[in-house]
Amino acid sequence: MDWSWIPGNGAQIWQLTYENAYLGIIPALIGLVISIPLGILAARWRWFYPPVLAVVNVIYAIPALALFIALIPTFGLTDTNVIVALTLYSMCVITPNVVAGLRAVPASVRQAATAMGYGTLRRLLAVELPLAVPVIIAGLRVAVVSAISLASVGQLIGVSQLGYLFIDGEQRAFPTEVYVGLVLVIALAIACDLVLVGIRRALTPWAVRS
């Protein structure tokens, strides 16, 4: 371990960390925005969920490197390529959780909302979705953590983030650089995860805390 390398390359390390955060968080958020309406439809129409689930399972089975490559003719060797691929994975993780969260809302709660005069849309927005928040955020946590760690594979098609430290460290046979990359990817993932736990607590003040 060569500690002096770290301050000497601080600016570059910071830039790569920022890139990695961007390439991990943006896809998870776009994935969330797409998954919520998709999950609502799949929870509403029972026939719609099995085909959605089949597509989701197949997309999720595609290795990241292969997906990046398949997108090269359309998006080139760009950030957009990685963001689109990771958005697809995020959808695969979040959509089933939206469906599970909505389906887990007790019938009695739904009936109570209806009895209080809530229409379908208001019941969905004010009662069902808020109750599904913990399950949806559980999916979002998996999505963002996976996206941050998968983004490093993008280095193989030349899209830079912390994965650069792996490839450069390998080519120079310099373990310090690889250690720093690993620690930062994991730290970034944990930081995002903790932020989401905080958001969940803020959004569900009624939840029992142990």
Binding site: A61, P63, A66, A70, L165, V178
Partner: protein
């Protein structure tokens, strides 16, 4: 040209099907590099998950949270970084690629086996005991069959993961379909890159189908309704 036409042109060239490092050879190599770590991980994680699940018997205590957190935390590890680190520190050897694949295949298998067995209905356990079954019989004849859909989901997740990571391991020198991708990228030839990627996708989808067939064959008919997806 689209991805598929690039891939198709390359895959259908006769010269890619003969000699050393041909498509059939790399497919077989890829299957071998994926199967070995998967089997090792399964031998370790299935019995462990079943044993832990049996002990916790239905309750979702601190142990359950710890195991689920472990599985989530393992997603944060970038596989490329782990593979590169071992090569840089230890040099390329079977250990260098096998160890990361085994370590990363264990969490999904462990969690699903644990959750499957821990989630067995208390009434069902009591009935098995009441029918005079020993602990061993309860586990093998009641709890494992009921947990089988989830155990298979865990193995499927791990298998897909291993196939993907074995592709990336071509970067550190492992054979298999990733060779076409990494070597093609290095020499700026999109043909083998696209062809290799398409073959990897096909392999991954075949793994999915294999597990769909396995769950049809192995899961008792009465349980199929309860199959879960994740």
């Amino acid at each position: 040209m689209s991805f598929f036409s690039w891939a198709w042109d390359w895959i259908t060239q006769a010269r890619n099907w003969h000699g050393s490092d041909s498509i059939p050879q790399q497919i077989v190599a890829h299957l071998g590099y994926s199967a070995l770590p998967l089997v090792i991980a399964a031998v370790i994680a299935v019995p462990l998950g079943v044993a832990l699940g049996h002990r916790s018997s239905g309750a979702t205590g601190r142990g359950a949270t710890a195991i689920v957190n472990l599985a989530n935390a393992s997603r944060a590890i970038p596989t490329l970084g782990l593979l590169v680190l071992l090569v840089v520190v230890l040099g390329f050897s079977p250990l260098t690629w096998l160890l990361p694949l085994v370590v990363l295949a264990i969490p999904p298998i462990l969690v699903n086996a644990y959750e499957g067995v821990a989630g067995v209905d208390r009434d069902v356990r009591d009935a098995a005991r009441g029918a005079g079954m020993t602990t061993w019989q309860q586990i093998v004849r009641v709890e494992v069959p009921i947990a089988l859909p989830l155990i298979l989901v865990g193995l499927r997740t791990a298998a897909i993961f291993v196939v993907a990571t074995a592709t990336i391991a071509a970067y550190i020198g492992l054979g298999g379909l990733g060779r076409f991708i990494i070597d093609g990228l290095a020499s700026s030839q999109y043909g083998p890159v696209a062809g290799g990627a398409l073959l990897v996708v096909i392999l991954a989808v075949l793994v999915l189908l294999l597990f769909a067939v396995l769950s049809r064959l192995l899961v008792p008919a009465g349980l199929r309704r309860q199959e879960r997806s994740e």
